[in-house]
Amino acid sequence: MALLETRNLSKSFGGLQAINNVSLKVEPNTVHGLIGPNGSGKSTFFNLLTGVYQPDAGSYIEFDNINVTGKPAHYIAEHGLSRTFQLLRLYGELSVLDNVLVGYHPHTKYSPFAPFFNGAEVRRQDKIVKDEMFELLEFIGLAEHAEIPAAELSGGQRRLLALGRAIAMRPKMLLLDEPGAGLSPVNVDNLMATIMTLKERYKLTIVVVEHILKVVMSTCDTISVLDHGQKISEGTPEFVKNDPAVIEAYLGREMADEDIRAAMDA
């Protein structure tokens, strides 16, 4: 039983068909890779799944056996679908701890008016949640920066915080949009290792968009390939790597065969 399924998912911006009839399934407890050239629609796909964009008529998205097509973003998040953004979108002026606390928001048990009527309960619950979030920060190595504004973290730390904030809500599924962008190869390896540990620890299903092919090839169970908004290939890393359609689309027509292999193995 797939945890996430899209059928005929489409999205156009004016005349541009950013996502074109994509049907895709993600099985539970897997790491599913999503690759494709720049502008092929990967981020748009995530935005559709998480309710940031509304899909075109005729699309269907099911998450955890619930039809979430056209549902608002917070509704989908409440059902356990979390994500990071390519450009992170951290809450820059909020402290690192507050960033992950916002990530925890869907599980808040007191009413929004509780600060007026039941301050004691707010403090009691927040204390427990803060301890829990602090543990998460320790795990991703940001605990000692807990009180500084997110905007003041280094690039790598910011990527970790984005990950932490997405995990704070204890999602069933996590969508990662280029988690390693801008990191050095060593740091990308470290980050991927962290992600895999988090996956085990929190029993996550992961969909990851990543440009560094080596990373996708070595960590993903299944890979889907987008090109011009269409799904052009899908299968095991081994299969996708050797699919002529992928080689053709993904690495550009002008590149020689050996170069492609080299890039994929790099």
Binding site: G51, A77, E93, P112, D126
Partner: protein, 361 residues
């Protein structure tokens, strides 16, 4: 800096014993203020202190929607007007002057009802925020706020041009809050309680949701925050403050209300408080309210004559200060406060690390 750190340390040590101790201390220190003012200056200054307390309530409330949640609203003064007029009309005796409406309710029923009515009005003023942002939202809320004032100005039942008179003073048993000094205790208590609760909001999931919306609305919605609901909630909470301030204003001696109290100029004054305070910082807003209210009071009657024509230049001064503030002090007083607090935290952490007592915050 030394004396400030000392005070901050002292407040921290109080707070460690009991969360409410610093608040009680502040309350106790403010109790004798009317007597001090009377001895040192004159009784009129108590009236100013009372109006400062109302401005603090207004500024702290505005800070919730504008500072915490990042929604630009210029309709706050309209909410203040609604709170004031509702409470006045509900508590006035029927058949008052010049066809003014009156329901003869007891004041302690009129004030909470006025707050509720204003909260509902806040919801309506907040509705444009669902679709609009920034300058467009400012325009929409400005329109709504100003139309409230004009409605009051043209409706005889609500006082129109003469205003509402002889609005009764609150009483508890046989004690009547009809002097500057007695009223001071009412509005000062309201102001401190208002500040306290604005911190309660800020330090809860509600406040964090507001700030997340301010920082990045899309990220907030993906983090499971119902953006529409929380934006409207911010408007409603800030309206509760405005409604309470308005109601307390209506019953304040001499119990007189006029729509001129709710003009765009008052709104600009209010904005100036929040901007000077530093958007989002509660204490900054409080200090901003005090400073601007005093400046407002001192410049109110400043008139100079140009070719025998009187020119009131207060609006000019206030408008200019606003521009200068935004240009040269964009973080306001709150910016200094935040820097100060961060320095202290930093020093404390380093000390803890040195002495090996570091622990989770």
């Amino acid at each position: 800096m030394g004396i400030l750190s000392f005070m901050a340390d002292f407040i921290d040590s109080l707070a460690k014993r009991h969360r409410l101790l610093p608040w009680l201390l502040a309350y106790a220190l403010l109790l004798p203020l009317p007597f001090v003012l009377t001895i040192l200056f004159n009784e009129y200054l108590i009236d100013l202190a009372n109006r400062i307390c109302l401005f603090i309530l207004l500024a702290v409330g505005l800070n919730i929607v504008k500072g915490f949640c990042g929604q630009v609203t210029v309709g706050h003064i309209g909410l203040y007007a609604i709170g004031a007029v509702t409470s006045a009309v509900l508590s006035l005796e029927p058949g008052g002057f010049g066809g003014a409406l009156g329901f003869g309710w007891p004041i302690w029923a009129a004030i909470p009802t006025a707050v509720l009515v204003t909260a509902f009005a806040g919801l309506i003023i907040g509705l444009p925020s669902v679709r609009l942002e920034g300058a467009y939202l400012a325009l929409a809320t400005l329109g709504l706020g100003e139309s409230v004032r004009i409605f009051i100005a043209v409706t005889p039942a609500l006082g129109s041009s003469t205003g509402l008179m002889m609005i009764p003073a609150p009483r508890i048993g046989s004690f009547v809050f009809d002097s500057f000094t007695s009223y001071y205790y009412l509005v000062m208590t309201a102001a401190i309680t208002g500040i306290y609760f604005s911190f309660s909001i800020l330090r809860s999931a509600t406040g964090r949701a507001f700030q997340a919306i301010r920082e990045d609305t899309i990220a907030a919605s993906v983090n499971g925050i119902n953006v529409v609901k929380y934006k409207l909630l911010a408007f409603v909470l800030s309206a509760i403050y405005a409604g309470l301030a308005g109601a307390l204003f209506a019953h304040m001696p001499p119990g007189y209300l006029h729509h001129n109290n709710f003009t765009v100029i008052e709104m600009v004054t209010l904005l100036l408080m929040v901007v000077l305070g530093g958007i989002g910082n509660v204490w900054g807003g409080v200090i901003g309210a005090i400073v601007v209210a005093i400046a407002y009071d001192q410049t109110k009657d400043l008139v100079f004559y140009f070719m025998d024509r009187p020119i009131v230049f207060q609006p000019l001064v206030f408008g200019l200060s606003m521009v200068l503030l935004v240009l040269f002090m964009p973080r306001g007083i709150g910016g200094w406060i935040e820097d100060f607090q961060r320095n202290r935290r930093f020093v404390r952490r380093s000390e803890e690390r040195l002495s090996g007592t570091a622990r989770n915050p």
